[in-house]
Symmetry: C2
């Protein structure tokens, strides 16, 4: 196999576009062996793989005998070319292009995390990873929440998108579907007219986390079955949104 | 007051050094009005302030009549000069130099957070902010944990260093002091020979959080009165360290 050593190679240029949101219509990039392994295990379609020569043996060992390098459209690339496709400083010598799957949310499930206008990709990824760890059924992205397929979300999710259903929905439609399925909407807030999370007894619910600065929208407050807050005995005025989500998901 | 418009101004050059750890022996920089307000409220010594001209009125209003611009050594600077002193994209037109205070840990208190080799400044700051919100008494930095006074730690702490005692200690001395004070050392781990955090009943304890990749050290395991883990019903292999710390601090 020839080694692609030019960043201007057509395949490389096309793949590099996937670092930008507007080009991520059908596929996205993941970095490193761990995420590739998770994608393969979950049966997601791998469109192609870029790998540094010194990592080819590791890749061959990982994919085993069931699949071949040709099945997976493996491209050997130079270190520089690989780096040009990466968002992180250390992409571990491998980047793969994965097909986007349109997820359908099953509203007969019991625990949902709703992210409304969450801006920071690290927070979005961390909350999805925590929802996965806590055994939630699905995550729904609302409003201006950061793009699921951004490299930073991918990195902080650590493969959790291959474990649970995640979909972007229109907020009105999402809340209507939850209400029809008799799932309680628990909207988190810092405001006083809310109850402590410790009093929540619902076993089937959708937890709404809002924007880092502005919190949840008026619409999420009005649509709530219950407004919920975390009691803070100390002096800090608020918690990081991903920490707050973690406390709630592991106690509710 | 004259406006400093050169990045090569001596005062500016000296202050800019504080962005680098090795120069932060006696003081450090904070960004924005909120942190300055917290520093003043906590009675920390402000060595000097750099402010953009269009924010001078806001600063004057904030410091009120008790202090003067001269007391606080206020320097008017151009937008470019201010930016050259900032770590963040939007320093909100103000940067202040604050004197480092040597904190003494009171081991007769009841709840301690110990950060051992936590690498990411954002994680360090977020955990200190969470400890503050949860009403912890103090945070102790061990080993290779990121520098408290780094701009990124400052930003994610959101002023919590002005609310609770934080000190860097030698690990052996710290554990010895805790044992002498009969404070239980709860070391967090992913390993199987540990108990669920839900079974912990100690009311006086030191919670040890470890490195993002490697976890806690063997020494922290050996020194533990109890090894503690978080039960994860889902598929994710681990939690972000700051999320895990949040779950533990709010439930213990």
């Amino acid at each position: 196999m020839e080694i692609i050593s030019s960043k201007d190679n057509k395949k490389v240029k096309e793949a590099r576009k996937l670092l930008t949101k507007k080009y991520r219509k059908n596929s996205y990039l993941i970095e490193g062996f761990h995420l590739l392994e998770e994608a393969l295990k979950a049966g997601h379609s791998i469109k192609q793989i870029f790998v540094e020569e010194n990592k080819l043996a590791k890749l061959t060992a990982m994919i085993g005998s069931e699949k071949s390098l040709t099945d997976l459209s493996v491209n050997l690339v130079s270190k520089d070319v690989l780096k040009s496709l990466a968002d992180s400083e250390s992409p571990q010598g491998l980047i793969a292009e994965v097909a986007i799957i349109e997820e359908v949310i099953d509203f007969s499930a019991s625990k949902f995390l709703l992210l409304e206008n969450v801006q920071d990709p690290g927070n979005v990824g961390t909350m999805i990873r925590t929802a996965d760890a806590a055994g939630f059924s699905a995550v729904i992205l609302l409003g201006e929440t950061a793009d699921l397929y951004s490299p930073k979300v991918m990195r902080s999710m650590q493969g959790s998108n291959f474990h649970l259903a995640i979909a972007r929905m229109n907020e009105e439609e999402c809340f209507a579907a939850l209400k029809q399925a008799k799932i309680s909407i628990l909207t988190t807030t810092l405001s006083a007219n809310s109850v402590s999370y410790k009093t929540v007894e619902e076993s089937s619910f959708a937890l709404v986390m809002g924007n880092e600065g502005a919190g949840v929208s008026d619409f999420a407050v009005e649509s709530a079955d219950k407004l919920v807050h975390i009691d803070m005995p100390g002096q800090a005025e608020s918690l990081n949104v991903a920490v707050a989500a973690g406390i709630l998901m592991f106690s509710l």
